[in-house]
Each structure stands twice: as C-alpha cells, then as structure tokens.
C-alpha cells in the first residue's frame, strides 16, 4: 500500500513537468521606466480609414496616447552593442493595458512594470476628472507598480517630455527619478510619491502634484499642479511651490533671495520645522502656521559697511528673511484659498485627525468654510553659519 501511495504522489508531481508557465528570461523583458499618458484627439491624428473601421465597430473608443520609455538592454554594461540607450514606444488605446497588448504585436519582448519609476500625465488628461480617477485607481490596483513611483503632470504633452534625451541619463524614467530623489535639490517641486498622493486623493480628491516641463534638450521638474476634485485647475510657480512646501513641512533645503542693503542676497535654509495649529475663534477657524528655520548666509557684499559679524546685521538679515518668507507664504496660501479654492494642503485631514469633533461639524460645507479661514504665518529665522569668511 505504501508503494501505491508513493506512486500516486509521484504522478501528482509529474504535473510539474508539464510546463514552466511563468518562465520569462530576464533579457526578454522591457523594463518600462516611464509611462506617459496623453489625450487622443481623433481630429489631430487620424489613422488609416479602413483600419479604423474595424476597430470602431468592435473595440472601445480610443482615448489616450500612451508612451512607454524603456532602457535598451543592448546598450547597458561593458559589452554594449548598441548606442541607443533607450527606446520609446507609443500607442493609441483606451487604457494602458490595451497599450501593452497592442505594442505586443510590434515588439518581441514582454513588458514589466516592476521597475517603473515615473508616470507622467499630460496636461489635457489631467484636466479631465473621470480620466484622472481611472488612472489613479489603476495605479493603486496594479500589482506590479511600486507605490514609490513619482507621478507628475506635464505642462503640455507627456510625449514631448519623454522624447527629450538628456545626455547624462537618456532613460526618461531614471532621469526624472534621480531628479526628484536628489538630496539637496531645493524645494521647487513636490516630492510626493504615488503612495502619498493616493492617501490625499482618497480623502477628498485635492492634492498638489509636481510639474514637469519639457525644455530644449532637457527636462525640468519644477512647480506644482493644483488638483481639485481629481482634476487640474491651475499651476503654482516655483517660488510659490517653495512656499507651499513650507506649509506642508516637506522642505529639506531651500533658497530664499532677500533684499538687503539694496541688493539681493541668497540665504539658504537648512533645517525647517512647521507646526500647524487650527483654532476656533469667534466662530471662525484660524489656521496658524509656525515655521522655525535655520540657515546660513551664502553670499554677502565684499567690504561692506555693515559687517556680517555684527550681531545687528544678523538680526536685520533674519528679519528680512522672515518678512520675505511670510510674504511669499501668505501670497501662495491666498492664491490657493481665494483664487483656486482648493484645500490642497491637507487642512481638512488635519482637522479630522486632531479635532475630530470640529470635523464632524464642518465636514459637509468644508469647501465654503475653507474659503473663509483666517490665515496667519509666523516664521522664525535663525542665521547659524556664515561660510568661510567674516
């Protein structure tokens, strides 16, 4: 009887030999590093009529132009056989799964998204609420996409951005990834990744997303796109982005130009901590941001009258920093509050966390109430170091 059991088990094991279903060699893969999503306008890019006939009858409507950027394996490593380090492919479809399948008819390799670093959403697509909802749901649901991917909004078309080939890092995905992950980059862009963006979006659909701008032969990641209710309603410039990042407490280092002694001097902020307070005064909600900063003076004036080593100069400079920063932050918040009317800074979430009872009251008309919040910002600037010379 024992032998019979053993035979049975062996027979069962023989099914293992019927195939290695998932065996795809690593060199068979295209490791998609960046995905770009653009709007497809039929009128601008017409396809051959007869091909289109068939597709229209049985397929869904095409809505996007989706571009993939992937490094070319032949150009990696010591024995590189190819000069072109990357490949760009794009296709017209209604979602990016269809793109994958469509491109499968044109390429000899499999696609994998496990190493995707960046998703770039074109401006047009970002303005469409339903599309954005779909795209973000997809990114959250997809089992291969890492939740640390950066999501950026392109000014213009994502495809334009992806076409640019930077000489140092030709592969778009890695380039953008390295730009955003650099350590001392200054706070001109929001470094939120997919994870954090999704958290904010799940709450109420408002968030700030970084912006990517195609230039001549180079890509620039600067500025922010303001997303309200899942769609793009405006931009924040670079300085405004710094201010917004201060409010979100996401600044590592930042440069502030201050007017001092009839000239503009750069002041570098090295440490900052923002504390947000929400208080209810006389039936109105007051939002107080206390920002403590430390920094150093990067550049002064040679042989000036007021030496930098004089404590009074330092105090004056600190005051200038404080004023400049407060002005910028106030202006940015004003823009967000009055002009765009969007709570992209997560104030609602903050209330819900720290003052849940208050949130219960204001939850329903949060949009209106947000418009009328009083805002106060206090910056405390400390100059710590002055460089190498006195």
């Amino acid at each position: 009887m024992k032998t019979q059991y053993r035979l049975f088990i062996i027979l069962c094991l023989s099914i293992l030999l019927t195939g290695c279903w998932d065996l795809i060699e690593i060199n068979q893969y295209f490791f998609i590093s960046a995905i770009g999503i653009d709007m497809y306008k039929k009128e601008e890019n017409p396809i051959e009529e007869d091909e289109k006939e068939e597709i229209n009858k049985i397929a869904q409507e095409d809505r996007f132009i989706i571009t993939y950027s992937t490094p070319d394996l032949r150009a990696v490593g010591k024995n590189a056989t190819s000069d072109e380090p990357r490949i760009i492919m794009s296709s017209i479809s209604s979602n990016f799964y269809e793109t994958t399948k469509e491109l499968a008819t044109r390429t000899n390799r499999n696609f994998t998204f496990t190493h995707t670093k960046v998703v770039i959403i074109g401006e047009e697509v970002a303005k469409n609420q339903n599309y954005m909802k779909e795209i973000f749901d997809n990114m959250g649901r997809h089992e291969q996409l890492s939740r640390k991917t950066s999501v950026l909004i392109a000014k213009g078309e994502a495809k334009e951005v992806m076409k640019i080939e930077d000489p140092f890092e030709p592969v778009t995905g890695y380039l953008v990834n390295q730009i955003t992950e650099k350590k001392q980059g200054g706070a001109r862009y929001s470094d939120m990744v997919l994870e954090e963006i999704l958290t904010e979006l799940y709450f109420n659909g408002d968030v700030l997303m970084p912006r990517i701008v195609p230039g001549k032969g180079e890509i620039k990641v600067a500025g922010t796109g303001i997303i309200k209710d899942f769609r793009l309603i405006g931009w924040l410039g670079e300085i405004e982005t710094i201010a917004a990042m201060f409010l979100l407490d996401r600044v590592n280092t930042a440069l502030i130009n201050i007017k001092y002694l009839d000239t503009i001097l750069p002041y570098i902020i090295t440490n900052t901590k923002t504390k947000t307070h929400l208080a209810v005064e006389e039936g109105k909600i007051k939002y107080i941001a206390n920002i403590d900063t430390e920094g150093y003076m990067q550049q002064y004036i040679l042989d000036a009258e007021d030496k930098l080593t004089d404590q009074r100069s330092i105090t004056a400079i600190e005051k200038q920093v404080k004023d400049t920063l407060e002005k910028q932050i106030k202006a940015t918040f004003n823009k967000l509050q009055k002009e765009f009317k969007v709570d992209a800074l997560g104030l609602g979430r903050h209330i819900r966390k720290f003052k849940p009872d208050l949130w219960d009251e204001v939850e329903d008309n949060w949009d209106d109430i947000f418009e009328n919040i009083e805002f106060e910002v206090n910056v405390d600037a400390r100059l710590r170091r002055i460089g190498m010379t006195k």
Binding site: L23, E25, I26, F31, L73, R74, G77, T81, T112, H115
Partner: protein
C-alpha cells in the same frame, strides 16, 4: 471495518536482512557449541590446524622441543607479518627452549602447561583457549598459538604487531591551533590516544567483534557517569545485532545502526582526531572505534555537531562566533545559490534593484540557453571538476581543479554560452560548500541543491520555498538515536542553555553546563571558585 484492521495493529517492526532475529541468535549459540575441541595429542591438533590453514602459506608452524631431555613437543603457530616475531623469539622461544632446562624434569612432566603459562613465558598478555576455532581466530588476529603435547588446551600469547603507520596529523581535519595527532588504523592505539586525554577509570571500553568473516574489533567507549545509560545500551545492542560478512570501514557500522537509512543527512559524526573524540565523550556521547580505519564514529549527532570544528574550542569566542555565522550562511548559499539565480532571473526580475536587473539582462542577451539550463550545465561541470580533482591526488588534483575551473569558466563566458554572473554564482556556491566542516553533511546539501534547482525552474521563488519547507520537515523529523536532529532549536524549553554554543559561541567561562542533548547525568562541567574580599576561597573548607 476490514480496511481499518490493518491500521490498528501496532507499527510493523523492520525486518532487516542485515540484522539478526531472535531465532538467528539462538542458532548461533547452538553453532558455537559445536566447537572443535583440541585433543590431547599434539599430532592431531597439528594436523587439524594444518588442515584449517591449508594453502595459507603465510602461516608459520614452529615446532620445538622443550626440557632437558628434549622430550616435550611444542608447536608455535603465528602468521607472518601480523604477529611480532621479536616477542615470540625473545619471550617465548628463548625461555622455553633455554630456561626450562633448569627446572626439574619431574615437575616439568606433570605441570608442564601450568609452568609454561605461569612461570616461563614472560609476555604480559597470555590466555588459555579450549577451542580450536577460537585459537584460529586469535591466530588470524596476530596472536601466537602454542600447542602443548598432552594437553587439550591451547595457549594464546599476545604478540600483535601489525603493520601500521605512525601517529601523524589527521589529514581530513586540520586546525591552526590544536593537537596534531590523528588516529591510525589499529584500534588499540586509537583507544590509547583517547585514554591519554581521559584519565578517568569511568571511561569504559567494551570490545566487540563484528563481521562473520572479518571479525573486526569494535570498541565502544563512554564515560559511565556522564553518558545516558539507555543510549549506551541502545548502541551496544544495535551493534551486536549486526550480521554482515565484513566490516571494512566504520561507515559500514554507521550505515547499519542508523535510524533513518534513506536520509541524505548523516546521523553520526566521524572524526580522525582524538581530541574531537575525547571532547565528545565529555559531552556524554559515545565513541565507536573500528579497527582498520582511522575514522571513529561519534553518536549521537545533531546538526550543531556537524557545524562545529575542533578549533572552535581553541580559539577565542568572537572569531569563533563569526565563523559559525558564516557557516550557517554557507549552508544557505550552498543549498540555494543557483536556485535563487534561476528563480530571480527567469521568474521574478522585479525583485532585483533596477540597475542590477538591467545589468543582468544585458549580460544575458546573447546567451542561448534559459537560466536553468545554464545553471545545470555549470553545476554539472563543477561536479565533474570536483570528482576529477579528488581522484587525482596531490598536485595534479589541485591543478586540475583550479585550472579547469578558471579556464572552463572563462572560456564559457567568452564563448557566450553562460553569463558571467552564473559562473560567479556557481563558484561561490562551490566554495561555500567547502566551508562546512563535515564532508558527509556538506554532501547532503550538494544533492539537495539539485532538487531545489528543479523546483526553482518550475515554480520560481515559490518552488524554492516549497523545497526549503520539505527539507526542513525532513530535518526536523530526523533523529539520531532518539535525539532530535535539530536540537537545540526545536526543544527550546529543555535545552535553552545549549544555545550558548550554536550561532554565537559564548566564552568558555559562560558555558558551565554540558550540552543537554542526550539527557545526561552529570550536568555541570565548569565551576568557578569565587573569592571573597579576604582572598579566601569560598569553596575551600576552612581548617577547623
């Protein structure tokens, strides 16, 4: 319920053809009674002996006459080469032939045997036997048989002098610091080497002869008040049950008394070093010395014992702990190295960092085979090189291994048949498998490596995990004479103090208790005397 009747019987015992049943033991006793009694007549005895040793032309028959009147006839029988001629010449023949003349002939006549045995032969080892078969066995062991005319007893004189090499360094286990004597092929010398290290009368030694035709001397050593008496009894009983025609090496004994015959893992340790054997005895384990081989068996053994080397106790704890941790790592690498490569490259490139994934992908572009074929090819090549290197001894063997490895590896990469990372993985795996101190244990992992590679080829990382689970289950089920193989990891409650010697080895000061793996009697190994402030020893009895 007829189907279940079969299940309700107790477990069926094993019926081994190599083991004796009760009936066999009785038969043997009966056979033993059919001894050949020697007759009082020398001629008949001699004829019998010559008949038994017919065509054995290395047997020496020396007949000589003793007594003043040269009236008594003696015959000495020994085997050329096995017995020491000097002993017989100096201490048997000379006294008998020369000295006996000095004794009164009357006394000589009556008490010849007694005088011979007790008064004349000046060797230290001497005994009487009453059976020709037994005498034959003794002759074949190297003793000398003395036939005396008129007596039906035979004198056996201890004269063993077999050809042997001197005590030299154990070649299979070398240490940087530690004794350099190793066992030799004579079991008595081996037990002597151990006795030197344990000068305690509680070190008991049981002699046995195993093997129908080889009658190999087996000695079982144990320290009486440390070792578990059940363990000792169990081992001795199992050895006595062995029925085989020849024991050529201790591994025969090992294979015949182990609990799990089909497991790839060894369940007993073997060593060539006396200090390792002595240390095992101090831990309450049992040492089995087998004649004709310098490898003695230590039972029981657990996985921990296979991962220790003698040097562990001679070096300082920090470096030993590091070595131990590297050995664990070596086991994992040796088992999983190529499988991980296969799984990650063929199934889950998402698990690698991006740069590495690109690099590996790039290096495999022109490789014609899928990863698992690559891995199998390289593994088999390494196995071939390893076997070839061990066939050829000395410098040729080393050269073949090194040159073969380098050249073939390099050429394969240049030819584009394998990717360079594969060669590295396989080489590191091979080196890791050499790190395991015990060869038998390391070989188990060599075999299992292929099994896990097959699983990885079909099911990727999931296959590797399944393989690991199956191997762990097997290891966990394994027992060595009742001691679970994975002690102390699986029996934390009882043997937690054993953990001091597993991954990290604590300094000797900390390890006060013996390893509990065999449920010993005498548990404390190290006790320290503490001094109080006056400088007195607390443990010393004060003089009254």
């Amino acid at each position: 319920m007829g189907l279940f009747n079969r299940f309700s019987k107790k477990k069926v015992g094993e019926k081994d053809s190599m083991k004796k049943e009760k009936s066999d033991i009785e038969k043997e006793k009966n056979n033993a009674e059919k001894k050949i009694s020697p007759s009082k007549c020398l001629e008949e005895n001699l004829k019998c002996m010559k008949e038994i040793f017919k065509d054995c032309e290395d047997v020496i028959f020396r007949d000589f006459k003793v007594g003043e009147r040269q009236s008594e006839e003696f015959v000495a029988i020994q085997i050329d080469g096995l017995a020491s001629k000097d002993i017989i010449n100096d201490y048997v023949l000379e006294p008998l032939m020369l000295e006996v003349r000095k004794i009164e002939p009357e006394d000589v006549k009556k008490k010849l045997f007694k005088i011979t045995k007790e008064g004349v032969i000046s060797t230290i080892e001497i005994k009487e036997v009453y059976d020709l078969q037994e005498a034959v066995v003794n002759i074949l062991s190297g003793e000398t048989a003395l036939l005396v005319n008129g007596y039906d007893k035979i004198l056996i004189i201890g004269s063993k002098g077999p050809p042997t090499r001197g005590v030299s360094q154990a070649e299979s286990e070398t240490v940087v610091r530690g004794p350099r004597d190793g066992f030799v092929e004579v079991s008595r010398f081996n037990s002597a080497l151990i006795r030197r290290r344990i000068r305690d009368p509680k070190l008991k030694l049981r002699n046995m002869q195993v093997g129908e035709r080889s009658k190999t001397d087996i000695a079982v050593l144990y320290i009486e008040d440390i070792a578990n008496p059940h363990l000792v009894k169990d081992i001795i009983r199992k050895i006595e049950k062995i029925k085989i025609d020849a024991i050529l090496e201790s591994s025969y004994i090992e294979q015949l008394i182990e609990d799990n015959h089909f497991s790839p893992f060894p369940q007993m340790q073997n060593t060539e070093r006396p200090d390792a054997a002595a240390s095992a005895l101090y831990e309450g384990r049992v040492v089995i010395i087998v004649d004709n081989t310098p490898f003695c068996i230590i039972a029981p053994a657990t996985m921990m014992t296979f991962l220790q080397s003698s040097e562990d106790f001679y070096q300082r704890w920090a470096i030993v702990s590091l070595s131990r941790m590297i050995r664990y790592l070596a086991i994992l690498i040796s088992l999983l190295g190529p499988s991980l490569y296969i799984a990650i490259v063929s199934y889950h490139p998402g698990l690698l960092p991006t740069r590495l994934a690109l690099y590996i992908g790039a290096s495999r572009i022109n490789v014609p085979f899928p990863a698992f074929i690559e891995a199998f090819i390289m593994e088999i090549t390494i196995e071939l090189l390893r076997e070839a290197g061990s066939r050829m001894s000395g410098p040729i063997g080393t050269t073949i291994s090194i040159v073969g490895g380098l050249v073939i590896g390099q050429a394969a990469v240049e030819a584009g048949i394998v990717s360079p990372l594969m060669v590295i993985v396989v080489a590191v795996t091979a080196i890791a498998s050499f790190m395991i101190p015990n060869y038998g244990f390391a070989s188990a992992f060599r075999i299992l490596r292929f099994v896990v590679m097959v699983l990885a080829s079909v099911l990727g990382l999931y296959g590797i995990m399944l393989g690991l689970i199956i191997i762990t289950t097997h290891l966990v089920k394994l027992t060595s004479f009742g001691v679970p193989y994975m002690t102390p990891f699986t029996t934390l409650g009882r043997t937690i103090s054993d953990l001091k010697d597993t991954v990290i080895k604590m300094p000797l000061i900390v390890m006060r208790e013996r390893q509990k793996l065999t449920r010993l009697q005498d548990k404390i190994r190290l006790s320290l005397e503490e001094e109080n402030g006056n400088g007195d020893d607390k443990n010393v009895r004060k003089k009254q």
